[in-house]
Symmetry: C3
Subunit: 264 residues, 3 copies
């Protein structure tokens, strides 16, 4: 790898920040409170632990305040949106706003349920630091096609960072735009992979002053973990755990050698 040519589509500064993400996270150990769906809980917690963050997952009304008060960031994932989770999100966002703790919205399956769509719109108006979603969810929420310009417009109009993930990831804060071409198709064959990516992105918000760069860094690192995992996997079963191993072992050099991040 010593003589590897620099990647022409790579944005140097964003890649530097991506390379530093995991060392910073391991040093800081951010506490991330995740209100997420039950199917996503194990992989979400394990991805955060592998990256050096400290997950907590309770959704109980009586306790959520205590957990959020001692958290550094909050994830609001709309999967399995039962009344308890709905209430938990309300309390968590209220506390997060009061204490300036960043929170991220993952509007899971808003394309399948009008009720979730309405609630996701309401949450968007309450200024999450970032939103991570897939193409179908983006279309349902923005009414626009899932392309770079639409992502930028949506981010600007909502005053948040939008991270649209898929074969190519698009991130915008309304002004800047980054394109990330890391990842592997097996990521779409494992349940809750997007939810886990959202959790890692939430943790990244703590690790950098520049929230846009932090989101780009998280998606880059997660995509590279997917590539490293695919190289040692026989299918989606082993892949689901190889990606956790890859996150745990990833070095800044791995990130620099593999990042495919472009500005604009």
């Amino acid at each position: 790898m010593a003589t590897r040519m620099p990647n022409p589509v790579t944005s140097g500064k964003l890649v530097d920040l991506a390379a530093e993400l995991l060392p910073r996270m391991r040093a800081r150990g951010p506490k991330v409170h995740c209100i997420t769906n039950t199917v996503a809980q194990p992989i979400t917690a394990n991805v955060l632990l592998a990256a050096g963050a400290i997950p907590s997952l309770t959704t109980t009304e009586a306790e959520i305040g205590a957990f959020v008060r001692s958290a550094d960031a909050v994830l609001a994932n709309l999967g399995t949106l039962d009344p308890e989770r709905h209430q938990a999100i309300e309390i968590a966002i209220h506390h997060a706003a009061k204490t300036k703790v960043p929170w991220l919205l993952d509007p899971v399956f808003v394309d399948r349920s009008e009720l979730r769509l309405d609630y996701a719109r309401e949450l968007l108006a309450r200024k999450p630091a970032a939103v991570r979603l897939n193409a179908a969810e983006f279309k349902a929420l923005s009414g626009a096609p899932p392309n770079a310009e639409a992502v930028r417009v949506f981010a600007r109009s909502r005053g948040t960072i939008v991270a649209l993930t898929g074969e190519v990831d698009l991130v915008s804060d309304g002004k800047r735009l980054a394109t990330i071409r890391n990842g592997d198709a097996l990521m779409g064959k494992v349940t809750a992979m997007g939810c886990a990516e959202s959790a890692l992105t939430t943790a990244a918000l703590v690790a950098s002053e520049d929230a846009f760069a932090a989101v780009v860094a998280a998606l880059t690192v997660f995509g590279i973990a997917g590539e490293l995992a695919a190289a040692v996997s026989k299918g989606p079963g082993t892949f689901a755990f190889a990606i956790i191993d890859a996150l745990y072992a990833m070095t800044p050099d791995d990130v620099r050698a593999r990042a495919k991040v472009a500005d604009g």
Copy 2:
């Protein structure tokens, strides 16, 4: 493998259909809404994704209708039968009946709880397309020993397809009967393996006009996945993920070479 002798206990037509199950499922991508217990959710979703189906898992009263309306099949699993899941099953079955969407009943642990047993009996009267259960559950529900004749009688009297799984699987629609001798003992050492098999069987109901053949195909494919997984596993931990890899990679030739399906 080229000169492998044909398996004498194999029923040719059922095996052909089993061999075609995964290609059909991958082409069709059926949406399967699974009301299932929390411990089973991750493996259930991952088995469906590996087979080419699209799982959804919400159990929230306000949302379940929207998910079932866009689903191709529904799984009603009685594990962790809390009031929310009970309500979700009621709504889902109601929608499924209206829209002719097939649904499958998995009466988990009815041998351990009188309440579940009563509810399973009530659900059986509402004509699921199929029921998948183990020997203890069959005995509790039918009052009969877990043998071929009792399975046939029970299927006929209830007007459904009964799939009794164990070391040998028995499937009957009340007239036809099939015996499947695929699988591995490690399947009994991993939690929710039966629940995941029920989910795959539910998805199979979408892939064929002949529901009996579809159920036989699903159990055959799942049993073969278990055999392929056991061959590369060191124990139940790695087996749980090797079986997902095996489903993902399985070809029609794998099925033809390994299927042990007998008529009658």
Copy 3:
């Protein structure tokens, strides 16, 4: 290994009992009802199955009595302590007390929530057979530093067995004290590892007349499983499943060769 020297810090009798734990458990097949948090459910069930026990996990008010009545031991884990789980624990402990079924308390994250701390204190007064917890939880609950003398004092004052796990495990029944130096750092990088260890310890209470020795045996076996798993793992992802394989395959000789158990 034939000429391996005896470990000087090893207590022979406790190690003999630890070596016999898994054979006894596999022969007996204890039914363990686990009220535990959703994130811990899959690994908890799989650890118990790998060790030869039979897990059940329902938390539904209407059913919990039936499950506990046919259980041999009960785990009360305070993670995701929603109203349903709170109620389930109340019913389970009530039944367990009436039928002399041993139960174990795992006061997850009492250092993060005053509410849980209060409830854990209340439960402690109701005489669990054992309590398993980490250093932060021990400090919150006992008000004392996490050392051997404090563990002994706390166990004596509460009339229970206290198992404080960490880099070194300490177990006391108020009189006897044992120190266990088995385990691997990767155990701290996988979610719900402590919860799963509590479940195995709960099952162990059924396998021996001497509850103190049973708890020591469970922690020793689980620590050794961690060592065996770490030797074949590339990171916390594969480790989580290698530890289940290790429990499944472990022999009395593995335990005798590796146990680091000291009296006092």
